[in-house]
Symmetry: C2
Subunit: 248 residues, 2 copies
């Protein structure tokens, strides 16, 4: 592991409150590794061996069933994923693959489970992290069940704009096909719906989105902090805001 990486990990909400000795013990068995783009890191159904921490690059969490596939979340530095499977010592529910070249730290689950049993501060951090992840997925499920496709897109755009500081224009942080999958629709549907949103105060030029009429967009999106998440600062866990949703 590189010298600058350890302090970075140490500052993550998940690890910042634990005893130094325990942190060192945890990192003893951990190792960093670089992966090329589009590599499958985790296959759903496999036993959970390592907690993953993304140091650089981007990782997609996705799920498969009966030949279909959908994006569940995108993890950016510095974020962790598949904590819950590690804790339950249960098979992964989601697969993971790199979207671009990525550097990832792998922490053995056995060490993890041993250490949160003897470090109460770390246990509390794990609780906070899990509670945050849980609430993130509940919000995602609410969006899927309560909103139509167009409404999900509109909400996502409005929320993204808010995350960027209420800017009127921003660039999509992920491919449209991935965004479509995350939002629970086909790429064709996203493409058409985005165009149709011109009538609701949004224009698009390639990957650049411009909100031309915030009031009109909000009338459709009806932003709701109980679905879209807390507004600017309160990005639950990481120091960097997740790009499409962190549910790992």
């Amino acid at each position: 592991m590189r010298p600058h990486e350890l302090p970075e990990i140490r500052h993550l909400p998940l690890f910042r409150d634990m005893l130094q000795a325990n942190f060192e013990a945890l990192m003893q068995g951990a190792y960093a590794q670089a992966f090329p783009a589009a590599l499958e890191l985790i296959r759903e159904g496999d036993p959970a061996d390592f907690l993953h921490v993304v140091i650089s690059g981007t990782v997609e969490l996705y799920a498969r069933w009966g030949g279909r596939e959908c994006t569940m979340a995108v993890i950016r530095p510095l974020g962790t994923f598949i904590l819950a499977a590690c804790i339950k010592d249960a098979p992964y529910l989601m697969s993971a693959r790199t979207l671009e070249r990525a550097r990832i730290v792998l922490i053995p689950t056995s060490d993890l489970r041993a250490i949160f049993r003897r470090d109460p501060e770390f246990a509390v951090s794990v609780i906070q992290e899990l509670a945050g992840c849980y609430r993130a997925v509940v919000r995602h499920a609410k969006g899927l069940k309560l909103r139509t496709s167009r409404e999900r897109i509109a909400s996502w755009l409005a929320h993204r704009s808010a995350l960027c500081g209420n800017v009127a224009s921003f660039v999509l942080p992920v491919e449209k096909r991935l965004l479509a999958s995350y939002l629970g629709m086909t790429p064709e549907n996203l493409s058409r719906a985005l165009k149709s949103l011109e009538a609701d105060g949004v224009t698009m030029d390639g990957m650049r989105i411009t909100i031309t009429d915030r009031a009109r967009l909000h009338a459709l999106a009806k932003p709701d902090r109980l679905i879209d998440g807390p507004d600017p600062a309160g990005a639950s866990s990481g120091s960097h805001p997740p790009s499409v949703g962190n549910e790992g």
Copy 2:
């Protein structure tokens, strides 16, 4: 609180491993209360004041947005709900109402947070519970995104049959309108889809479902433990299996 209730709560996975003194302290501030049917216990957006434990009766967790409403889970005895909101000291993401007369124990969140900080065993139990809840919602979201309505119904029926010991015939544990909402569709859609499942090995008579051709049903449902959950025994938290899904 009634004399028999305390030991029942004590035996819940969430409370069974903590120190007796801490359990008593937790129960000191708790109180049980009976509620009539169809009463709103919790309104989403409100601050989380109490962890709820269902002693008897049934509770529905649901969500609202823009005039629409959907069922997120049904909690039966002895189950807990809204643990995550309590822990994060954040507003509830879901509302809750009784489906029938229910008796519920309310545990102040402040006590809860204070005690898992000083009782490592309790902290571990909270971690296990949260991880289980998280995985339950992830599975629910996967079902919504990867399966069509008919497939969700078929899977739910197949899984329910498995929970009952692979019986060929069983009675729906909830109203069809509620099941429809839980599965992310309208009652009309469920009604029609159920009828159409006759071609796939399922017949229906009122609330009674009969699987006439398991192989055919499974061909459509493609049961998957990474979506439908572990088969018989491993019902995550409670001693009683949840009736439509426990994500509280």
